[in-house]
Symmetry: C2
Subunit: 272 residues, 2 copies
């Protein structure tokens, strides 16, 4: 099994923290600048890190694709181009391997199965950059939007913000994963509907263990004014996102990438 996840969002939104928390081990180092004199990186370097994990008795190979510096410049015109190019590049490499005469029995699948898109918790809505990038990414890969650092929103603000975002997704006609296809059973259609009401997932990430007021040791964030347990579904939707990505929809994310995004790419290439 190989699962390739791409993280897209401004730096400092907690991307590396969340990925390390989702797969319960320290996979990625945050790309912070080491000192104040270093210039801020340009987006062009897409970084991939590979990891082998045991996730419920299955040996899972995880590739984390990071897009450092996304949206951090003064002029972010076309900062999405290296990202779109990377995704299409994986499709075309797969196609090349598929078309070779002596092709291997098992082709390594480096196609991007899931794009986690991190939205700034500003309780206002999507920025112009978000709208353009989401439009482009939804057309070529499975995109799962999340509200980053959602502990900075109260529960009321979170509900209001989620509603605004869901309206914006509809207004901009983004094709957000999961897709309903004809071959789904009723329970699967219902599961997709439940998931859609959760999207964007309001998550909090943390690699640190804290002790709560009640003395439990949990993963969370501790401050003088209260501590948040990231695995408590009353406090954030981290557990829903983790189960969605690594349990209920892992298989489908990989298959949909092949059957919808790759096939779409392939027929365009071969017709061209």
């Amino acid at each position: 099994f190989q699962f390739n996840v791409m993280c897209v969002g401004h730096s400092g939104l907690g991307k590396s923290t969340l990925v390390n928390t989702l797969f319960s081990s320290h996979l990625v180092d945050s790309n912070g600048r080491k000192n104040v004199y270093e210039p801020i990186e340009k987006t062009s370097e897409i970084k991939v890190s590979s990891h082998n994990l045991m996730e419920s008795n299955v040996n899972l190979k995880i590739n984390i694709i990071d897009t450092p510096g996304f949206g951090d410049q003064i002029n972010n015109d076309r900062c999405w181009e290296p990202i779109v190019k990377y995704i299409k590049e994986q499709h075309s490499q797969y196609l090349r391997k598929e078309l070779t005469a002596q092709r291997e029995r098992y082709i390594v699948d480096n196609r991007v199965h899931c794009v986690l898109y991190f939205i700034t918790p500003n309780n206002k809505g999507l920025k112009n950059l978000d709208k353009i990038v989401l439009k482009k990414l939804c057309d070529i890969a499975n995109v799962v939007p999340i509200i980053a650092k959602s502990d900075s929103l109260t529960i009321e603000e979170r509900l209001n913000f989620k509603k605004t975002l869901q309206e914006e997704f509809a207004a901009n006609d983004f094709k957000i994963y999961p897709y309903d296809t004809e071959d789904l059973y009723d329970e699967e259609l219902q599961l997709n509907k439940d998931i859609r009401s959760l999207i964007p997932f309001a998550v909090v990430g943390s690699e640190k263990e804290i002790t709560t007021e009640k003395g439990e040791i949990v993963r969370g964030r501790k401050t003088r004014w209260g501590s948040i347990n990231i695995e408590d579904i009353q406090q954030c939707e981290f557990v829903y996102l983790r189960d969605f990505l690594t349990r209920t929809h892992l298989q489908d994310l990989i298959e949909t990438t092949a059957s919808i995004h790759y096939e779409g790419f392939r027929s365009k290439q071969l017709l061209a």
Copy 2:
């Protein structure tokens, strides 16, 4: 007395919330878009709202200068120009009034006395846009940087972030208010030194009253995982910022604008 404060920062960083909290009354409405179909505003409209307040037995006229849409575009090149222009425009209007033959006994002072610069709490450092804008604004007005929404940082992250920012201010040679001039007494020099160790102020704003676990009614933010009382100096530095702006340095902010920034502008204009 007239006091003119300008707020500069991305939308959604809590600018209107903080200003309304600082002057304990609802002065400004946040410039949120009313619905998802409205395009995001361009920076060009600088909005000024005037208010009369009683602050410790003194009738204070407060002008809040808002810069909606700052840094919210894809290409934010030169988005600081309307802001710099507005500040210089106030200086040149004052100069014109000062130079007229039949000048009024008391000239209305619309010069910008203080610029509150809102920094995103990303625990990484200043972005390229912050560096350019801070450099330009520090040359023409009193700039007071603050860490916005600092409840999204733990106390440890806050200390680390503040240290990084203070290093970046020094590395970029920003002239941040308060300034030490020769005529200050020792206690005033010490007060300025204490203030400088606090800058950027880590603040939290809230217009809502909440009831804490102990049953007190305070202004703060309440979530399922804890409530923050913005006036508790153990939890944030809102009180320090409020006292600094409306008590200890109010007079000096107005005078320094006249004696340092305006005189600098005036001599450049008259020599030109």
